[in-house]
Symmetry: C2
Subunit: 324 residues, 2 copies
Amino acid sequence: MARIKDVAREAGVAASTVSLVMNKKGYVSEATRAKVEAAMKKLNYVPSEVARNLSLNRTNTIGVIMPSLSHPFFGEVVEALEAALYEQNYKMMLCCTQHKENSERTFVEMLRRRTMDGIIMGAHSLDVALYDDLKQPIVAFDRYLNDNIPIVHCDHHQGGQLAAQILLSQGCRQVVEIVGYQGVSTPANEYHWVAADRLRRHGVQVEMLEMPWNAFSYRDFMASARELFQKYPEADGILGADLSVSACLNVAAEMGRRVPEDLKLLAYDGTAATRMGLQPITAIRQPIEELAQLAVKKIINLVNEEQDDSPWVLPPSLLAGKTC
Amino acid sequence: MARIKDVAREAGVAASTVSLVMNKKGYVSEATRAKVEAAMKKLNYVPSEVARNLSLNRTNTIGVIMPSLSHPFFGEVVEALEAALYEQNYKMMLCCTQHKENSERTFVEMLRRRTMDGIIMGAHSLDVALYDDLKQPIVAFDRYLNDNIPIVHCDHHQGGQLAAQILLSQGCRQVVEIVGYQGVSTPANEYHWVAADRLRRHGVQVEMLEMPWNAFSYRDFMASARELFQKYPEADGILGADLSVSACLNVAAEMGRRVPEDLKLLAYDGTAATRMGLQPITAIRQPIEELAQLAVKKIINLVNEEQDDSPWVLPPSLLAGKTC
DNA sequence: GTGAAAGCGCTAACAA
DNA sequence: TTGTTAGCGCTTTCAC
């Protein structure tokens, strides 16, 4: 495999000149440029990225930590992150923590080893202390890690307001909110509190149904949905994450409940999962692509130590459907 | 940031000794080991992976190319690949080609630049010539690239036999198979030909319904399902990829067709998408996790130039459901 | 415009 | 056991 030296020798110039040509830097005469390019072609030269990285102290790689990929929300997020990174000439290194003991720690360790220029952290950390004395750039994706790590996120307060407003305008009187396991707190939970508060102010009865710990399979969502209908048969409105609500839609059909006539279903997130059925689910949509682009922009600015006073928050929107 | 030299000076030894300690290689006396470890701790030393990579000419990184992540099949595959790589102390660099012009070329270029030790290629290549004179290790994931690139895949021949057998045993007389766009060929298509052949031998009428080019949204699947019921109202059996069949199940409900009484639905792949409804879809399941583990084992063996005569093919299995 | 030389931070052969 | 030395392959400063 040809190295820069070989190219230099072949072209009859110094290695540094080859470097200049490759990187289109400084001034190089047309004649030498041509010679160098010919030599590169002849030797089928491909520069070593690793050597370059060592020299520049930069890898152009960003690490992404997410719980899983099989959950549609994270799948869509990671896909969007990869696209945004590619756009900026960055590579993505991926770590999924959900089923892997210690993987988060290992991954952060790689960051310290300068394998990556920075990370975008979107998993619920099992060990927040990991991030405490970390010098490298981090951007959190809808997660609170500590006071020094900035968060890119959707405006969940507004999301909650919007949700309440919709359910109110649909005339709901008893709403059940399906919330994740409350042992871990995530910023996204806020929409639940905001919506509940606003609904209650308007005289709506609000109940919270908590999912068990580590329940992420559709089977679990179905179980919770059944529990919901059993515990709150009078409910006329349901608010929860996409898959929770999708399960409710299925169970409602099973029980002969008419949606949206007698029961309003409102999903939060608005991934493709809300589109996968005869009856698209009305949803508060997190702007996944835009959030991903923002996170990428932020992490790259952090890596480059560039000033960036633009906001870290993006508004949700309403995704039309037939369940509200 | 402390370097190996600093640690060496602090511990009063040579850099090479520090290296030996870090990598647990060769013989180092307990006393010096302790001194070195103390120095590392004191200086908060973290070795540079990049320098190590340059020295070893190895990155312990494998690139993965897939069309997308939002499609459940690929999401599950990539998640499993990442887990298997992690298990072997490898990192995963990801590239999604679906919506990105030229990204495949760029990614392969990174392989040539030795950013990664090898790649697992699971996207349908837009430019097979890219792989022709590539020296680096590649394993294809259910894709044919060229005669030199080995393929990890599910036994689709057996999958087709199994599918036919099930539909026959259910007494189907007119089966429609929903096939992907035929302008690009993928190994997975084989199950369609095999199943069709076997069904026809048994006197079953078989029709092929082709999806349009680049149709991957659920909306597209619904459209094809509607087309199917309109074109072949007499069909009593349907075979196709998970999402195609899921759409058929929805449309069947809409049209009042009884499944499985009057219409048998059989999905191929068996991702979580077949579980997301009241009526789980009977499926021929590709062993995604095992395939991922196999692909990882194969690529690592290739990287290490280790002999490996184990098979590249894994059998499908039957995933029980309520549509057949 | 171009080349010589030092440096990025680590590993490994060989000598001591 | 441990240290010396020479790489790994590129970038960059600074003479010329």
